[in-house]
């Protein structure tokens, strides 16, 4: 399968501290890719590099052949939700979705169509609330952020810790959404998580980071959860 994300000799150091060091990693198109690791393992650093929010110390990342730090042409087909700083606090959820829609050349009607698909996921707590995003609970903010990342038919979706702060019902629904994205729409989904169970449920492939290095690269199977649990027990 052709790969969409290609990482070459990537490293990021702060002063003498090397926080990320990935020699070679490629993610095929349409794969659901999971990133696990303890705090400080470099998950968010990797995503930030992928989104060109920080510069790599060495190496580069290609997104569909485009070096992300050299051109911005990857932006139209890549979307992400990393943390609350991706939300615009003074907008209502709808206004936020339409704003993102505008940026991604998606009409109001198309956004509405997409939102209709997520009625379940929203659980009646996001739309028509007459509340600004900053006044929603953390969980509901996350829901809005995740759905916004799906506007405009992206080919690559990056979600940092999407399961954290969500209630159980929503976690289950989110897992279904991610699976469908990669299975039906061939969207490449990159997810990081501290929850081994969720990530093994959802992802076809799991990469374990430790102190910035790739220590495991597993194709998910029945034994994966056990293997991961064993690894993290040490």
């Amino acid at each position: 399968m052709e790969s969409i994300i290609d990482v070459q000799n990537l490293s990021k150091s702060y002063n003498a501290d090397k926080v990320l060091n990935i020699e070679d990693l490629s993610i095929p198109k349409g794969q659901s890719f999971g990133l696990v690791g303890n705090n400080g393992a470099g998950k968010t650093t990797f995503f930030s590099l992928l989104l060109d929010l920080i510069l790599p110390s060495t190496g580069h990342i290609e997104n569909r052949g485009i070096v992300v730090s050299q051109s911005e042409d990857w932006k139209p087909y890549t979307s992400s939700f990393i943390d609350e700083s991706f939300l615009i606090g003074y907008l209502t959820a709808e206004e936020y979705f339409y704003f993102i829609g505008d940026l991604r050349n998606t009409s109001k009607a198309e956004v509405d169509e997409l939102l209709a698909e997520f009625q379940d996921f929203f659980h009646g707590e996001i739309l028509n609330q007459k509340k600004y995003l900053r006044d929603l609970s953390k969980g509901n903010q996350k829901k809005a952020g995740i759905v916004a990342a799906l506007i405009g038919n992206p080919e690559v979706v990056i979600l940092d810790e999407p399961f954290a702060n969500l209630d159980p019902t929503t976690q289950i629904r989110l897992k279904k959404i991610i699976k469908e994205l990669s299975a039906k729409k061939h969207v490449t989904v990159l997810v990081s998580s501290h929850d081994l169970m969720h990530v093994t449920d959802v992802c076809e492939r799991i990469v374990v980071l430790d102190k910035g290095e790739v220590v495991k690269d597993i194709h998910t199977s029945e034994q994966t959860l056990k293997e991961l649990e064993l690894y993290f027990e040490q």
């Binding site: 989104l51 060109d52 929010l53 920080i54 510069l55 932006k75 139209p76 890549t78 979307s79 992400s80 990393i82 943390d83 700083s85 991706f86 939300l87 615009i88 606090g89 003074y90 907008l91 209502t92 206004e95 704003f99 993102i100 505008d102 940026l103 991604r104 050349n105 007459k130 509340k131 600004y132 900053r134 006044d135």
Partner: protein, 491 residues
Amino acid sequence: MTTTQFLSLEWKQFRRSSFFKKGLAIKILMILAGLYFAAIAVFGGIGIFFIFKKAIPDQDPFLMINNYMVYWVLGDLALRYFMQQLPVMNIKPMLLLPVKRHAVIKFLLLKTSFSFFNILPLLFFIPLSIVLMVQGYGPLMVLIWFIGVLAISFSINFLNFILNKNSKAFYIVIALLASSIGLKYFGIFDITPHTGVLFYSFFELGYTILIPLFAVVLLFKMNYRLLRKNFYIDGAVKAKKEKFQNYNLEFLNRFGTLATFLKNDIKMITRNARPKQVLIMSFLFLFYGLIFYTQDTYKNMPAFLAFASIFVTGGFLITFGQLVPSWDSEYYKLMMSQNVSYKKYLESKWLLMALACVASFILSTPYIYFGWDIYAMIAAGASFNIGLNSFITLYGGALNRVPVELNQKAKAFSNTQGFNPTQLLISLPKILGPMLIFYVPYKLINFNAGIIALTLSGILGLIFKSYFLNFIEKTYQKTKYKTIAAFSEKK
């Protein structure tokens, strides 16, 4: 937890604040600025007695000072409302600790006594009291008067926190202030002698200071009770949730692709505390011309009039523009990972500033009262603002990497981060530019030539708009990572 522990926390907060992480040059400048204000207060305190004596020789100057005290009270209250923050935001970590609530609240309230706003009046009234004593007013009674004034200052301090919860009360204060000045100006009714009686009675009778003393105690108790009642995370600690307001902004769609950002910016301005403050500030700038146009001294110094004219229409442009892109700092990562064109983004900000400039110009029509020359100057100033000042300000903003907390009012004199040498350098062309552009042709040819030159400078800027925007865009791209890092820093 004892008071000393509280004090040690405060000290750490102070020592570790961003102020001390500044470069030496900035520190010196800040200290000089502080000294400047202090010196103004001290010399004001010394001088005011003699100013009144000279201005109205047949009246007792002290009596006159007392008459005008009412303006200080109302003005101080208005200033504090804008600038002084409620101290309640820091109590969250205390809620779970074994600390007596009343100890925390008392400490919080007493802490406010040491705010800049309480020290400044001291710097003014102590020298004034000394002057009074030297001038032969009874020292004991002057001392009592001073204590009375001090009590009023503290009453204002505590009253402000109650008013802060209630914006209606604030507008009443502003209306009182405006109408009393207006009524006096037009000679209809002068409130000053009536209120002066009270202030003077502190000196004359002495025992009337029980009134302000009683007011301080009462207001302190009220604050105490207010805080005590709200000492829960859903009470005073919690930021107010605002009611959702929606407007139809579809008419902005005529600006095409810029409309997306424009609509967003208008929501940003109307729904957040900090930009609202900017909006009010820029409205006040409209009156800036009054200071210069009404004074005969400036009549023959048209360069200063040009300077004033820039501010009449440029209030919003300057105060808003210098914080682009900081306004979007809270969600800057989103902007940087989305399909956003810097140029469109910048152009929309420019458009917003230009529209505000046009609106200010329309609102400035009453200045025709001061003559067509003045009005022509304001028009030329508006042209300069739209065509040149806007780009200079946007460029300055690009170098300014200060995160803005949108829904947090700017604290008085704590906004030091925006204060750096580059900002200072950038503000020079903003201030001196229009003065020079006007003054040189004015000196060489005549007044009209100055006006035309100023207008042309703006039009020239508009012609090169695309070039300027490209230039600023390059700055954005060059500093992208630095800006992202600075904006995601925790405050």
